[in-house]
């Protein structure tokens, strides 16, 4: 039954699209972000209500039932998930969105004779399937259902090439024949390509993959909008595609590498594997009490949290240390490198959860000039993102990567598990400098000891 005129349908979809744009615009500042998200949710509700009253619908009870099932599964998960598990959840939602787009495209194939629409269908099918399977593998890696190391086997690049060629062949055949069976073959090829794409990607490169799959799902949804002639899907999908693309580029730039280099680097021989080479040069290692004295009598301290802090779940202890130091009248900020954590901006969320006010969370560009006037830079579980080799050593794997300039601080303290180099597998000269002190151990345990020593000062 159609309750409203098509012109009203279009206007309501337009309103929903504007809501989505405002939702993203709200993210310009933490102050407006939450309201923006609610506007976005309102737009989504408006669009879903609109579809029920604007096209002739059968099976309405079934559809409503399916929506209840979907919401009642997702809402509790979304409410209870731990912030450290956010990358997994984002990967999961990404995958189901891509999967839904692929299914919609598959079913629409029977409803069209137009070749251009079929082009949009095969695109949605392929990209949606890649996103679904790729996200599933990313989820399994992050949730540690499978190994988190890069999975590389001989012939992988050849196999990937063959799958992609076959997919293009199947896509062309579907466009000209409209065959449902070939479309299923294309779906399977897309799923295989998604698995092969993510298998060789390891630990530190996961933020890139999540961003890229986010962009893929956006593109799939936009293409499904072209299939259905639905403007809202086109606009929403394109917004997501743009967001995913910008994040992918931002992550790649923050690593000083190209997107292609990250995705295909592992194909060529495991660039993310890291080395365990340890130099035997002397370093100045120290006790938690000494570190506490350094921190407790400073005027300005900058804490540089890295992947290691997130792994050790030490963000709450780091936040408590910051509060304890501020109680002594010390100026404390957190310097956050764009690739700290397991997805873009992840470290900010973890620290926000630990009650660090967002004014203290400083972006790299904002804080780099302040290290010069800093007494102590406390580096917790980070290595490559503070390695001066990125600036000084042409030929180093991280050369060109923007770093946090902790070397400018009067004292540098590293809390490290061992002398093992970071993901890039290169030594950090900064650790042998006279102003540097090292405290070995698990990030959370070290922070706890330093915290109690600071309180005892």
């Amino acid at each position: 039954m159609t309750l409203i005129e098509p012109v009203w349908t279009s206007l309501l979809y337009l309103a929903a699209a504007v809501c989505f744009i405002l939702a993203l615009k709200g993210l310009n500042s933490p102050r407006t972000a939450r309201r923006g998200n609610l506007v976005g949710a309102f737009g989504a509700a408006l669009a879903v209500a609109t579809v029920f009253v604007s096209v002739k619908m059968d099976n309405v009870p079934w559809i409503l039932g399916a929506m209840v099932v979907g919401s009642s599964v997702a809402a509790p998960v979304a409410r209870q998930v731990k912030m450290t598990q956010m990358p997994q959840l984002v990967a999961l939602f990404n995958g189901v969105g891509g999967g839904a787009a692929a299914l919609v495209a598959l079913l629409e194939l029977a409803h069209t004779e137009d070749r251009w629409v079929r082009v949009a269908i095969v695109f949605t099918l392929l990209v949606g399937a890649v996103s679904f399977a790729g996200s599933a593998i990313t989820f399994s890696k992050l949730q540690e259902l499978m190994t988190t190391r890069p999975v590389v086997f001989p012939g992988l690049p050849t196999l990937m090439g063959a799958v992609l060629l076959a997919a293009v062949g199947a896509a062309v055949a579907v466009v000209f024949s409209g065959s449902f069976v070939l479309a299923l073959v294309l779906l399977l090829l897309g799923l295989t390509a998604g698995v092969l794409l993510v298998l060789p990607v390891g630990g530190a490169d996961v933020p890139i993959v999540i961003s890229l799959l986010n962009a893929f799902t956006g593109l799939a949804v936009a293409a499904s909008g072209l299939v259905l002639g639905n403007v809202l899907l086109v606009v929403a999908g394109t917004l997501v595609g743009a967001s995913g693309t910008i994040l992918t580029r931002a992550m790649a730039a923050a690593m000083g590498r190209s997107v292609a280099g990250i995705l295909f680097g592992a194909f060529k021989g495991g660039s993310t594997a890291g080395s365990t080479a340890v130099s035997d040069r002397p370093v100045r290692s120290s006790s938690p009490e000494d570190v506490a004295v350094l921190l407790g009598y400073a005027q300005r301290v900058i804490i540089v949290p890295g992947y290691g802090l997130a792994v050790a779940q030490g963000q709450h202890t780091a936040a408590e240390l910051a509060i304890a130091l501020e109680a002594r009248g010390i100026d404390v900020d957190f310097a956050i490198h764009p690739v700290a954590g397991r997805m873009p901006g992840h470290m900010n969320v973890l620290l926000a959860e630990a009650n660090v006010p967002y004014e203290s969370l400083k972006e790299m560009g904002e804080i780099n000039s302040e290290f010069r006037t800093t007494d102590v830079a406390l580096v917790v579980g980070a290595n490559d993102v503070v390695n001066p080799a990125a600036k000084t050593t042409a030929g180093s794997p991280i050369y060109g990567m923007p770093i946090l300039e902790v070397a400018d601080a009067r004292q540098v303290v590293f809390l490290k598990r061992s002398m093992r180099p970071g993901f890039a597998g290169i030594e950090n000269e900064l650790m042998y400098e006279p102003q540097t002190t090292l405290l070995f151990g698990d990030a959370k345990e070290s922070l706890t000891k330093v915290l109690s020593a600071v309180k005892a000062l």
Partner: protein, 118 residues
């Protein structure tokens, strides 16, 4: 709607998307991603249209699967983004020069922070 109009909208949406998203502060990149994730859950509209036209039981089953997946994406995405953004708060009290009010702040926040470390 005709193809050229859709293409026009697509191209303009690309520019709007890049313009809006490039202004997002990197502090909020994770909520951006999960918010964008929620937005692509609007594929639910497409899934509902397809399910509403289905006459064959198999087609309906597949379409309903798409509805379940898309709803999970849409609802879960907005809920988790809201939860995350709720945590971003500014300084509740200014730090005094003598550190005294900061000490109060320490007391005010500590129980919560402690709860979180468990």
């Amino acid at each position: 709607m005709d193809g050229i109009a859709l293409l026009t909208i697509t191209v303009l949406a690309i520019f709007v998307g890049f313009e809006v998203v490039s202004k997002v502060s990197s502090t909020l990149h994770t909520p951006l991603m999960s918010g964008a994730n929620a937005i692509h859950g609007i594929i639910l509209v497409g899934a509902i249209i397809v399910a509403g036209q289905a006459s064959d039981p198999w087609v309906l089953a597949v379409a309903l699967l798409a509805v379940v997946l898309a709803t999970a994406n849409l609802v879960g995405g907005f809920v988790v983004t809201d939860r995350m953004l709720e945590m971003f708060h500014g300084r509740k009290r200014e730090v005094g020069a003598d550190g005294k009010s900061a000490a109060n702040k320490l007391e005010a926040i500590k129980p919560e922070a402690r709860k979180g470390t468990r």
